[in-house]
Amino acid sequence: MSLPGLSLPGLGLSQPSSSHSALGPGTSSNSQSTRTEELGARTEWRFEVNFHQQYHVRLLSGNAEIFGVELALNQRYSFSGAKGVIFTWHGCQLELSGDAESEYAGLETEYAVEWLNVHGMLESARDLAHGTNDGGPRVLVVGPESVGKSSLVRSLAGWSVKCGRTPAIVNVDPREGLLAPPGSFTAVTVGSQLDVENGYGIAPISGPTVTPIKTPLIYHCPYSSPTERPDVYKALITRTALSVLNRMEEDKVSKESGLMIDTPGLLNDPKSNYDMIAHLVSEFSITLILTLGSERLYNDLNRRFGPKQAASAEGEGIPVLRVSKPGGAVERDAGFLKQLANQQIRQYFFGTSKEPLNPHSHICGFAELSVYRANSATLAAAASSYTKDEDEDDSPYTAPKASADDFEKMTPTNAMLGRLVAIKYCDGDSDDFTIRDSAVMGFLYVSEVDEQKKRVRFLAPHPQRWGDKALVWGGCPEAVTDLVG
């Protein structure tokens, strides 16, 4: 047991503890024994765990939370492939074990105060909305990459749930799925306990779950960036907003609790005059914009949407607040994001260690399938040059006009191998707009394409066949090669 404050990253007190035998061999050379860490009030414990490491945390005393979700005393929480922050308002004692790339106590936590105050603002707005038909606060969170947008949304969601609210959470960042694999938009109302280890918990499965399930509505966004196909992206936002706002009309509790939108960092494109943000603001009738990190973004948005300037145009204007970036927010490189995507895909089919799932294999003839490819600049480029090089395109944004060839019907090819295919809630012969706007029933993984025998082997999450539905795939997420076998 190390002395409090003496445990530095990498300073392994390498006494092999007996409780570690279960960890399995060869995880990391950086193996550390179980140690305890004392945290003062309003400090935090930051850790980065890569995908082949296991890191365990146990709260010994005091109170602590991870992104707004409180840790229970003496429960062991495990993390892998995570960059996390355990924050304590009151001070706490943690027991840590396992391996991490880095772990340290963070003392600069002013951001947490700001975030909590944002929560206080939202609660005030919800109280005001109570009994009226105005609805609760509708919050848009924007900022560059890796500034803690998702963490902020998760914290606000966690605190709201703790206060008995049922906020709607919307994720329009297709690179990182929420209750779904990447390549999707998510809308979900959260009315029950979130999960310490994997945030929002798990979407419906047929078996028992550790935390209550959350039922999300999923749209398919097979583009890694909004700039790839702004028109499709916008249409999907419109569609998502429509469903969410309809839902809120049906469900007063949820309406009063409001909604929070998590966005991709690439959304903030000054060149397009924040066209996409404006679209989100109007479609969701946003009442509060939170910017993280970028000062320029704050000023630009405040000028455009803030109370004073907009007063003449559309009446009230929307408060724009600049919220501090957490000290623990770290750059996540492309490699990490790719692994994160793989992990999400894997968990979609196989579940987690706590909630293991059985995927099912289906073999379908080409004739049974209606496969569409979502065209994007990337795919088109890849197709034309015949290079399977999936570079993130930094090409200047050229507005591709809405065209009939958004979705190209195709016979399955080897190019689909390792890809995720969305089953859409629409007939196989629907038109492009229907395909684009239909919600997702589930995702399939293409594990084998036999062009001779004209059949495809899919890995499906569900034992049931899906019938004649449109199957769509696109550039995001990237192919995963090692999912099966």
């Binding site: 003496n74 703790k162 028992p208 607040l321 569900h462």
Partner: protein, 685 residues
């Protein structure tokens, strides 16, 4: 938390082995899990020859384990002594005081309540048992009870003023020594009774015969209440004797009167919530102990740092001075019991009337006020009070206030210069006194109407102090501890499995009970390989299903409520008559014949697909019925049946089926949009 399977007798093994094994199982006892506890009880029962070792392990475990796990372990102890009995009651009884009190000092207020409840049952025979003897002999239980009463009295009187000070400190100070056995109160005994020589009142004492009042005892629905009643009637007898000895002592008279009123109130049989009762009890036992109640820490002079209004202490000192000059004897000679009593009793009554909090400062302050009151004023009060047919504490306060006996605002430095034991901090991880305070203050109404100041600490009842924060950049930076309070302290009732918190209200407790049941059920199912092994992901919902979805927390919702909610989700689909049908068509199902996964409804010719119904553990066709040996949609069948009469229902009545089926998205949604009476605004294009 892994549920251990029941084991056979370990009789062959040595005591040490049995104890070690038992200890291992104990460490798995994390939550109050009936199954595990009864399992361990059985083990204890089968190994009575090792009772000594097992008892020792159990005692050690209770002592060593973390506060959150103490209660389950204590429940186990309780279960063993009640279900197994003799060898264990002897072994566990020996150290019961230490075992119980050490745990008690370390746990939070909710657990304490549970422990007190448990303690109460130990004084009674085992329910359903032929043996009339109590679980533990009275001589084992009584010291604990006494210690609890004293500890609480001390805690309540001492920690109210101190509590606020550590709210801003990073690490909460602790009060481990708080519950150390209270100082024996024999030395101050001379102060307590019959000291007419100390009375400074002009009239000579007139000894008279003692008058005993017999209190009718109610049948015991509530032990605690009875205990208070007993104490009160005991006090009445005592004070009566004092009063009889000194007829002209108005203080004694008023005190006696108040006690009689209190007794009347208690006997009136109205409901008094446990916390108030506890406070009454503490107060009464404080009175009964006479001067020992004086041994409380003095409130810190000077306002706590965050106390907003600086006028407070000034007012207090203004008040103190006019009260002082009235022919008061030097403090040393003041009979402390009398000094304390009238105010304390007022506090009691105020409590009962639920109108006001008996902050100790206030109580102390009242006393000199009463002393300084003129004879006429006092009797006026008494007359008024006596005139009120159904006496009520608030009336007393009001009448006191009217007569200028009870100043509008008061606070006073401690009347007794005696040094006070200041509790030390040492090992406690939590703030038990703060918890106690919070639980008390959340039970009591926030502020009184009489203008009597309540202590600032009590002004933080977490549920009510929700700040309004404007959406401005200026409001972002300032730390608001009250926001943290709403997330933590306001919901003291925490689930030990997932950390979820609940309010300390009845509703919160109900929810938590359901929530724990949910965990239990879920864990059982996760542990059952037949259920959890074949799990697979469900399809995501359609837009329309999602829009109609009523989100509820399955862990705190009962099955009935859940089905009611589900029905509500469907109510827009169904006409009222349909909603009333005891089983809606979409809930009907037909078990899928082996090998059949698809079927075509012979009415609408849409495809049906089987789905795995977890609760049935079968593949079924939902929304299906058998008609002439064929599986058809139940909704289609229902429509067929009434197609003659209800032609107006049309397409809008078409039930969505729970099974995702082809072309569900668009066509069905359109149909609903048309027929749902405008309920759906979903525009599909």
């Amino acid at each position: 938390m892994s549920a251990r399977s029941p084991r056979g007798s370990l009789s062959g093994a040595s005591s040490a082995e049995v104890a070690e094994d038992f200890g291992d199982s104990l460490r798995d006892l994390q939550i109050n899990n009936r199954y595990e506890i009864s399992n361990l009880t059985v083990i204890a029962k089968e190994n009575t020859e090792h009772a000594q070792a097992i008892s020792k392990v159990l005692e050690e475990h209770i002592g060593m384990t973390s506060p959150s796990k103490k209660l389950p372990a204590l429940y186990l102890l309780d279960s063993i002594v009640k279900n197994v009995g003799t060898p264990y009651t002897v072994y566990l009884g020996r150290n019961l005081y230490n075992t119980f009190m050490q745990a008690y000092t370390l746990v939070d207020s909710n657990v304490r309540k549970s422990m007190e409840g448990m303690l109460k049952t130990w004084k009674e025979p085992v329910p359903g048992s032929m043996d009339p003897r109590p679980v533990f002999p009275p001589e084992t239980v009584r010291p604990i009870e006494n210690a609890l009463i004293k500890a609480k009295t001390v805690a309540m009187q001492s920690h109210r003023p101190i509590a606020p000070d550590y709210r801003n400190t990073p690490t909460p100070p602790n009060y481990a020594n708080r519950f150390a056995p209270p100082p024996t109160h024999t030395p101050p005994q001379p102060y307590q009774n019959f000291q007419p020589g100390f009375q400074s009142l002009p009239n000579a004492p007139t000894p008279q015969s003692t008058y005993y009042q017999h209190t009718p005892q109610q049948p015991p629905p509530n032990n605690e209440l009875d205990a208070v009643k007993r104490e009160v009637s005991g006090l009445i007898v005592q004070r009566q004797a004092q009063y009889d000895a000194n007829r002209h002592d108005q203080r004694l008279g008023g005190e006696l009167k108040a006690l009689l009123d209190l007794q009347q109130l208690l006997n009136a049989g109205q409901y008094i919530d446990p916390a108030s009762l506890q406070q009454i009890r503490d107060r009464v036992s404080g009175l009964a102990n006479g001067p020992s109640a004086q041994l409380r820490p003095t409130p810190q002079p000077g306002t706590p740092q965050w106390q907003p209004s600086p006028s407070f202490p000034q007012e207090a000192s203004q008040f103190v001075r006019p009260a002082a000059p009235y022919s008061q004897p030097p403090p040393g000679q003041q009979p402390p019991a009398a000094l304390l009593a009238p105010g304390a009793l007022d506090g009691l009554q105020a409590l009962l009337a639920n109108g006001q909090k008996p902050g100790t400062p206030q109580i102390r302050a009242t006393a000199p006020a009463l002393q300084s009151a003129s004879h006429a004023q006092l009797s006026n009060v008494q007359n008024q009070a006596a005139a009120a047919p159904q006496f009520n504490g608030a009336d007393l306060i009001a009448s006191l206030t009217r007569n200028g006996l009870l100043p509008k605002s008061q606070r006073q430095p401690p009347p007794h210069p005696q040094p006070t034991p200041v509790p030390n901090s040492s090992t406690l991880p939590f703030q038990p006194s703060a918890d106690l305070l919070r639980s008390l203050s959340s039970i009591l109404p926030p502020t009184s109407q009489t203008g009597t100041p309540t202590f600032p600490a009590i002004n933080l009842p977490p549920t009510t102090s929700k700040p309004r924060i404007p959406m401005t950049a200026a409001a972002l930076k300032q730390f608001r501890p009250e926001l943290v309070t709403t997330l933590y302290e306001a919901q003291p009732n925490q689930c030990s499995t997932c950390g979820r918190r609940f309010l300390s209200t009845d509703e919160g407790r109900t929810k938590k009970a359901r929530h724990l049941d949910w965990h239990f059920r879920t864990n059982q199912r996760i542990a059952d390989p037949a259920i959890s092994r074949g799990a697979h992901r469900d399809w995501y919902p359609t837009e329309i299903d999602w829009v109609r979805l009523k989100d509820y927390d399955p862990s705190t919702t009962t099955a009935e409520e859940a089905s009611a909610l589900a029905a509500a989700s469907n109510s827009q689909f169904s006409s009222p008559t349909k909603g009333k049908a005891h089983k809606r068509p979409e809930e009907m199902y037909v078990r899928a014949p082996p090998g059949v996964t698809r079927n075509t409804c012979s009415i609408c010719f849409e495809e049906m697909k089987s789905a795995y119904a977890e609760e049935l553990q079968e593949w079924v066709f939902w929304n299906a019925r058998l008609a002439q040996g064929k599986i058809v949609h139940a909704t289609c069948l229902a429509e067929m049946a009434k197609s003659g009469g209800a032609a107006g229902l049309g397409a809008g009545q078409r039930q969505r089926s729970a099974t995702p089926e082809s072309s569900l998205g668009k066509r069905k949604a359109d149909g609903v949009g048309l027929g749902g009476g405008g309920g759906s605004k979903l525009r599909m294009e």
